[in-house]
């Protein structure tokens, strides 16, 4: 490495360890650190309403879920139409525990980081189990198998009294070092928790993807015959991909339950599964940054359309039905447009912008 480590120019790798770095230069590292600090500090500097904070919390929780979905669908190439159900598994793990031992038991209010991991573990178990058909099935047939899990999940929750038949099961307020997290601070508190989880998981997955465990996922996507010849069991790799996705979904589910202080079936329906898929597609399948762009884009779009609908119904009350239909309509349109014109998602725009800035002022 040459003297100036701040810029890539003139720096050549002389060891394979150098090549492994996530950030090639100090500049990249500094930008990333500044960005992270900004994310953590800005709520302290500005006045943010709880409603807006909830939107952000929602985006972050969805990001955790999409990291998982992107691993299984984007990297391993296995379409999962039951991702909301896996998120539901996480949420209902917590809810069921709350129902059994009381919603303000110490375990739930104080040991919540452990609970979140537990939700993830349960998600991974279910993921591995639902992934078992991958040993035999491929492509759309496998997708239908995941769809069947979604259906079974919804029916189970809706009909078993154990799960309150899909009605919300409440979960108590959590404690932090300063005591119980109050109603006023609730959304801010979970913003920080979710943000920390997204950052930690993001970095962990970034590491995973450049290791043998990440490469094997892409191998079974690109060519599972060759993957077999390279010495990995393609079926088990797929099951492991589902387990991994289940883990992230489970953690997202746990977060969701804590955030809304309860779990109800309406957040884990088939429609939500499709929304998750849309987020992964719009963000960019098979890219890590896609898992961050997708949820943000879709949720913000949702919000804008909602505002538009409100405004429209206010000025033209007669066309209320039409205005309500606007939301699914735009949603569908956005997916179709992305599939047609930018199948690599927003992550690809990000890539283009980055390479432009990197090369500036040269064209190539």
């Amino acid at each position: 490495m040459s003297a100036n480590r701040w810029f890539a120019t003139g720096n050549f790798f002389s060891a394979y360890r150098d090549e492994q770095r996530i950030f090639a230069t100090h500049l990249d590292r500094a930008i990333f650190a500044t960005f992270l600090t900004a994310l953590f500090v800005w709520p302290l500097c500005f006045e943010v309403s709880s409603k807006n904070m909830l939107v952000l919390d929602n985006i972050l929780v969805a990001m955790v879920a999409i990291i998982g979905l992107n691993l299984v669908t984007g990297f391993a190439g296995l379409i999962s139409i039951g991702h909301a159900a896996f998120v539901g598994v996480g949420a209902y793990t917590l809810a069921l525990l709350a129902r059994t031992i009381g919603d303000s038991h110490v375990l739930i209010t104080h040991a919540w980081p452990l609970m979140l991991l537990g939700c993830g573990g349960m998600g991974a178990l279910f993921g591995a189990f639902v992934g078992l058909p991958a040993l035999r099935l491929k492509h759309l047939y496998l997708a239908i198998a995941t769809l069947s899990f979604q259906m079974i999940f919804q029916w189970t929750i809706n009909f078993l009294p154990m799960f309150n038949q899909g009605q919300t099961i409440s979960i108590g307020r959590v404690f932090w070092f300063g005591g119980e997290v109050s109603r006023k601070d609730h959304y801010f508190f979970w913003y920080y928790v979710a943000l920390t989880i997204v950052v930690v998981f993001g970095l962990a997955v970034r590491n995973l993807l450049r290791s043998r465990y990440g490469r094997s996922l892409v191998a079974v996507r690109d060519n599972d015959r060759a993957a077999d010849a390279m010495g990995m069991h393609p079926g088990l790799t797929k099951v492991y991909a589902f387990a991994l996705a289940g883990f992230f979904a489970g953690v997202a589910g746990g977060l969701h339950a804590y955030l809304y202080r309860g779990a109800g079936i309406e957040s884990f329906t088939l429609q939500q599964s499709i929304t998750y898929l849309a987020m992964a597609i719009v963000g960019g399948l098979g890219t890590l940054t896609g898992a961050f762009w997708g949820p943000a884009a879709i949720r913000l779009l949702d919000l804008q359309v909602e505002n538009l609908v409100e405004w429209l119904t206010a000025i033209m009350p007669a066309n209320m039905n039409l205005a309500t239909a606007l939301k699914p309509l735009t949603f569908g349109l956005v997916i179709v447009l992305f599939l047609m014109f930018e199948p690599r998602g927003i992550a690809n725009w990000w890539r283009i912008c980055r390479s432009y800035v990197k090369l500036w002022p040269f064209r190539y």
């Binding site: 060891a15 360890r17 590491n207 450049r210 290791s211 490469r215 094997s216 892409v218 098979g286």
Partner: protein, 253 residues
């Protein structure tokens, strides 16, 4: 080094016999070719050896190991690598990642190390990256290291395919038509690689190939298949004179 013994192997798909009672011995350290007309069962034979098909009857042994019922990932971990006839690379990945995938079994750090990517994981990756570089150097793939495989030309893809098989550090390398569809220059290169693989890397090579000129020039031993049956075997000059082989495959003059 181990030699591969195929004894009385029959492969049947219902009433269709792709291979019937084939006996082969592939001696360690030599280049053995399997030739024959289209549909003779050459690729089926390789599929049986590498575990993609399991023979209906008969046995395949590699040294002490019995390959008859083994799956491809087992076979590859026992030192038998294979380059496919129709390129079966990981198209969406770079040449480097394709080769690193072949080191999958050699990297044995745990899942948790992979998450943190320090210590063991990083160290092993670097060591194996160095080995991959050795193969890249050997197969002269330096210009393509970071290229996405799907975008490379056919001849280069074939070379990556062989390189990936070599990265497994096999004792026995199965090459399924490595020269098919190549021009003279690329063929000459590939022949040079095959000879180097045998001589420098001390690897046994099994070659399935239609280019008789190449086969006759570089093989130490040839087996001829026709309609799933072994119709001739021996050194190249013996096979070239064998009337049954001439009738079935080589033709007069």
């Amino acid at each position: 080094m181990n030699s591969l013994v195929v004894s009385d192997v029959t492969l049947a798909f219902g009433g269709l016999y792709a291979l019937s009672d084939v006996n082969l011995t592939i001696q360690a350290g030599l280049i053995t070719s399997i030739i024959g007309p289209n549909g003779a069962g050459k690729t089926s034979m390789l599929n049986c050896i590498s575990g993609f098909y399991h023979p209906t009857r008969g046995a395949i042994r590699f040294g002490e190991r019995v390959l008859t019922r083994a799956s491809p990932h087992q076979v590859s971990s026992w030192g038998i690598a294979r380059a496919f006839q129709n390129i079966e690379l990981f198209r969406g990945m770079t040449v480097l990642d394709n080769l690193m995938l072949a080191r999958h079994r050699k990297l044995d750090y745990s899942f948790w190390h992979a998450f943190i990517y320090m210590g063991r994981a990083s160290r092993q990756e670097a060591v194996n990256r160095a080995f991959v570089e050795e193969i890249i150097d050997f197969m002269e793939l330096e210009p393509y290291r970071k290229h996405i495989v799907g975008g490379l030309s056919y001849g280069v893809q074939k070379r990556v395919e062989v390189a990936r098989a070599l990265t497994l550090e096999p004792q026995l390398l199965l090459l399924d038509e490595p020269m098919a569809g190549m021009n003279i220059e690329e063929k000459e290169d590939m022949v040079r690689f095959v000879l180097d693989i045998q001589k420098e890397r001390h690897t046994t090579v099994v070659l399935v190939e239609h280019d008789l000129g190449v086969v006759m020039d570089i093989s130490d031993q040839i087996y001829v298949l026709d309609f799933g049956q072994l119709i001739g075997s021996g050194r190249p000059e013996e096979v070239a004179r064998d009337p049954k082989v001439i009738e079935a495959y080589i033709g007069e003059n």
